[in-house]
Symmetry: C2
Subunit: 223 residues, 2 copies
Amino acid sequence: MEIAILLYDNFTALDCIGPYEVLSRIPQADVKFISADGGTVRSDTRALAIVTEQTLADVHSPDIVLVPGGPGDEGAAADPRVTSWLARVHETTRWTTSVCTGSLILAAAGLLDGLEATTHWASLERLKEAGAKPVSRRYVEQGKIITAAGVSAGIDMALELLAREAGEDYARGVQLAIEYDPQPPFDSGSPEKAPAHVLELMKAFFDDLRPAQELPSDQPLTS
Amino acid sequence: MEIAILLYDNFTALDCIGPYEVLSRIPQADVKFISADGGTVRSDTRALAIVTEQTLADVHSPDIVLVPGGPGDEGAAADPRVTSWLARVHETTRWTTSVCTGSLILAAAGLLDGLEATTHWASLERLKEAGAKPVSRRYVEQGKIITAAGVSAGIDMALELLAREAGEDYARGVQLAIEYDPQPPFDSGSPEKAPAHVLELMKAFFDDLRPAQELPSDQPLTS
């Protein structure tokens, strides 16, 4: 079972390491971290560097593809090596998956046209603009495509996928092995649950991350 | 705020990447992945290689130390470079923390003698043998030492720590940013919640990982 995890500059680490920790426990899993250029790929904080030991050109027919999100999603979505590879391998995958804004990259590869899909809560509008039907759910399954919501949602998606591939008992065993019995000290993990002033702060934060995108196209860049 | 994440051969990736994703959002965080030898360090699946750009000798007074667990815990605990570094920097840290069997490494450095601490559920007995008072809780705080339970528990611990350092609103904002609103498809993440037959399977799995340790000292190695 070949599992290809596609990295790119400025990815968000937990997006891929959460599902990796679960999917790497599939019996006979052969997990490969890959990138367009190979070599070291740096995460969004710049503090973490993961080695991709193979390039996209080395991986031809993975069973599972996982695409994380992150501030680098636009760069990856604009890289024709990435999108053409995704479109090509998707023809023969068992599962094509994304976490967070990784779904924007799947969309750029033409894989989500007219399909329900999800992404980070702050990027649902972008997903619509990219041609999908955005849905606010922890993960969304459409045929063999599964898209997960923001960052940590990939862990939940991966447990579901593991159950499909190795059975529910096995998936429960892996949940126990990673002691995934969440007990966050706060209950603020979705726009519906966060206090209003915290939600406003985080909306402003994500708007600042993508100022150009938030401007209507007819608005001048200076006031 | 210097945050040192100590890697060693055969660490478990989610143990450190979960807290990393949270703690790297502390204002002015300077996160460093470090190891005894520097260079590339491989996780327990062998599929993931993270670059440690500095060695223990390069980092003298981190504010926060985080030690992940993993099958390589015994090797790390037996490395005097690791234990002497931990004992030394602990004198001036704000927080000294571990996830999963990382607490066994803190114990080997003499930091947990007589203190309450936790670890992966399958290693609580080992933690007792190492001189701590094992407790089954998601995370355990004793002065400036916080130990977290298995693998995914580090995310919960890190949110608590973030609240201490940057305030509860800020921590709630980061929880929202990483959309940490867990919705696992099963509820099998602790020995109390897992079905009995799944728990037995996983106990056998972890026993096989450490056959020598599970034998009473007076029992012959062959029957």
